[in-house]
């Protein structure tokens, strides 16, 4: 019980762990899909508090990490063009493309600006009618609706110098691809809570049935994760494979219908490449024909970019749960957050960054809290002690 006293409600955590221990009769491998969950797990040593039969496999749920290198290179290329104001969320600044990142592009004279919201980028476009303003639209189902609304607003208000570089991805096809892989060991999923707060749970029953895999919608605070594990294990032990919502305080079955409607209007589903994983059918969105004027890939000719994945980066295997970050030879040696080979090491939600930050330097090293000076990076999902006292953990 090395870490459990760090939970704000250690009694509840103990109770959940006892229930999990009592239920487990054989080994189970569960995948947490959300990068925020990964950080919560590593930070609190949840994987080490669980009975040894339960293995947590880290999934591809970091939007920055899964953005393909080619798309990062397109962003860097556009950001260097004269007359362009390139807007992005702060998370993307240090993600390595082939040879450079947005941080360096600004140093080389590119007008790169960080915005809090895509609507800020639209305002910049309105204020600079003589410039081309491009916003880097990455992310899962949580981030896609704000970006869709922004393009919709640009169209409505006739702001023509605004375009979106779209690299949006969808979680359910990724789960499907993971389950179809011959190497797949995953027997249950902790689905990403915030994605479901937008999309609801309708996409999951079919996946659960087809792959005979329990899917439990889970939040990212430590007690949320324990509750997600508890419910998944109970299903597995009973031989069940249904969808459960363990994050009812933020997720309803129907999600946010207005956001879903806007997604369908502005975007259309397309095949999308995931960094290190490759193409997954129907796993992304692109702007629909009606909004093509606002598509940066069409507006700027950015084909023919020489994109080279660093050969020694194995983030693709990490993202598929085939390799733990500290099993990679480059981990902590040629690859560190200061000089990352791939996005998983630099993103605030990346699995490699989590392992590095919490000193999982090798497989045998038990996780330790970082030094007091260490802190999570900007935009990090709760690396927190849970504060769900009195909460039904619903």
């Amino acid at each position: 019980m090395k870490y459990i006293d760090e939970f704000q409600n250690p009694d509840l955590a103990r109770r959940l762990l006892d229930e999990i221990r009592a239920a487990v009769t054989r080994p189970w491998a569960l995948m947490e899909v959300c990068g925020g969950q990964t950080h919560s797990i590593i930070r609190h040593g949840i994987d080490q508090l669980l009975p040894p039969e339960i293995e947590l496999i880290h999934g591809p749920g970091c939007p920055v990490c899964v953005t393909p290198l080619e798309m990062i290179d397109k962003a860097l290329e556009i950001a260097m063009r004269p007359g362009v104001i390139f807007c992005s969320f702060g998370d993307m600044l240090r993600v390595p493309g082939t040879g450079r990142d947005l941080f360096q592009v600004r140093g080389q004279g590119g007008d790169v600006r960080v915005v809090y919201s895509p609507l800020d980028a639209l305002r910049i476009a309105e204020e600079n009618p003589e410039r081309e303003v491009v916003f880097f639209g990455i992310g899962f189902e949580t981030t896609a609706p704000p970006n869709a609304m922004t393009v919709h607003q640009a169209r409505k208000r006739n702001i023509r110098n605004f375009s979106l570089l779209v690299s949006h991805v969808r979680v359910p096809p990724a789960i499907d691809a993971i389950m179809r892989s011959p190497d797949c060991r995953v027997q249950g999923f902790l689905a990403a809570g915030h994605v479901c707060s937008v999309m609801g749970t309708a996409e999951y029953p079919d996946l659960a049935r087809r792959h005979r895999v329990p899917i439990v919608v889970t939040g990212f605070e430590p007690l949320d994760v324990l509750e997600g594990v508890r419910r998944t294990v109970l299903q597995l032990e009973r031989g069940e494979h249904t969808v459960e919502n363990a994050y009812q305080r933020a997720v309803t079955a129907e999600g946010n219908p207005a956001a879903q409607a806007m997604l369908s209007d502005v975007f259309e589903i397309t095949d999308r490449a995931w960094r290190g994983i490759g193409a997954i059918p129907d796993s992304g969105w692109r702007l629909s024909e009606r909004y093509r004027d606002h598509d940066a890939e069409y507006r700027f000719s950015v084909e023919g970019i020489d994109t080279r994945e660093p050969a020694e980066c194995r983030s693709g295997e990490v993202l598929q749960g085939l390799l733990k970050p500290n099993e990679c030879e480059a981990f902590g040696t040629t690859c560190t957050p200061r000089s990352p080979l791939g996005a998983t090491m630099v993103s605030s939600e990346g699995a490699c960054a989590a392992y590095y930050l919490y000193r999982r330097l090798d497989g045998a090293t038990p996780g330790r809290r970082p030094a007091a000076s260490a802190r999570m990076t900007s935009g990090t999902p709760s690396p927190a002690t849970a504060s769900l006292e009195g909460s039904p953990l619903a």
Binding site: Q8, C34, G35, G36, C62, P63, F89, L93, R94, V114, Y116, S117, P118, L119, D120, G139, F140, T142, T143, P145, P146, M149, Q153, R157, H194, S197, V198, E221, R249, A250, V251, N256, A258, A259, M262, G332, T336, P337, R338, S348, E349, Y356, R359, L361, A371, S373, R375, T377, S378, G379, T380, P381, S382, A384, T385, A386, S387, L388, E389, S391
Partner: protein, 105 residues
């Protein structure tokens, strides 16, 4: 970026045909688009992601999460200047690298 922060609606207005609100995130006040939660009223709480309210939240859950984020400095990080944050992060990692370097055999 995946961090969605709970906030309390201070006031709501229609701006150029778009439903907007000022929202208080534990002391940091931001403009937030309510087009996806048009019924949200002053005093209510919602999960806000990149300037958009996405899902209502009960007051107790929202306050707990906000307190937690504030204690951890996450609110300041979420809303701080990202360039300064990135530079600070680089020097922080430098320190971390040194610590790791010492820890490695």
């Amino acid at each position: 970026m995946c961090l969605a922060v709970p906030g309390r609606v201070l006031d709501v207005e229609d701006r150029d045909g778009t439903r907007m609100a000022t929202v208080d995130f534990g002391g940091v006040v931001k403009e937030v688009c309510l087009e996806y939660l048009p019924d949200l009223k002053p005093g209510e709480y919602a999960i806000v992601h990149v300037g958009f309210a996405l899902q209502k939240l009960d007051e107790e859950s929202a306050k707990r999460t906000l307190e937690l984020f504030e204690t951890l400095g996450l609110l300041q990080e979420e809303f701080a200047d990202p360039w300064e944050a990135a530079e600070a992060e680089l020097s922080e990692w430098q320190t971390q690298d040194d610590v790791h370097g010492e820890a490695r055999p």
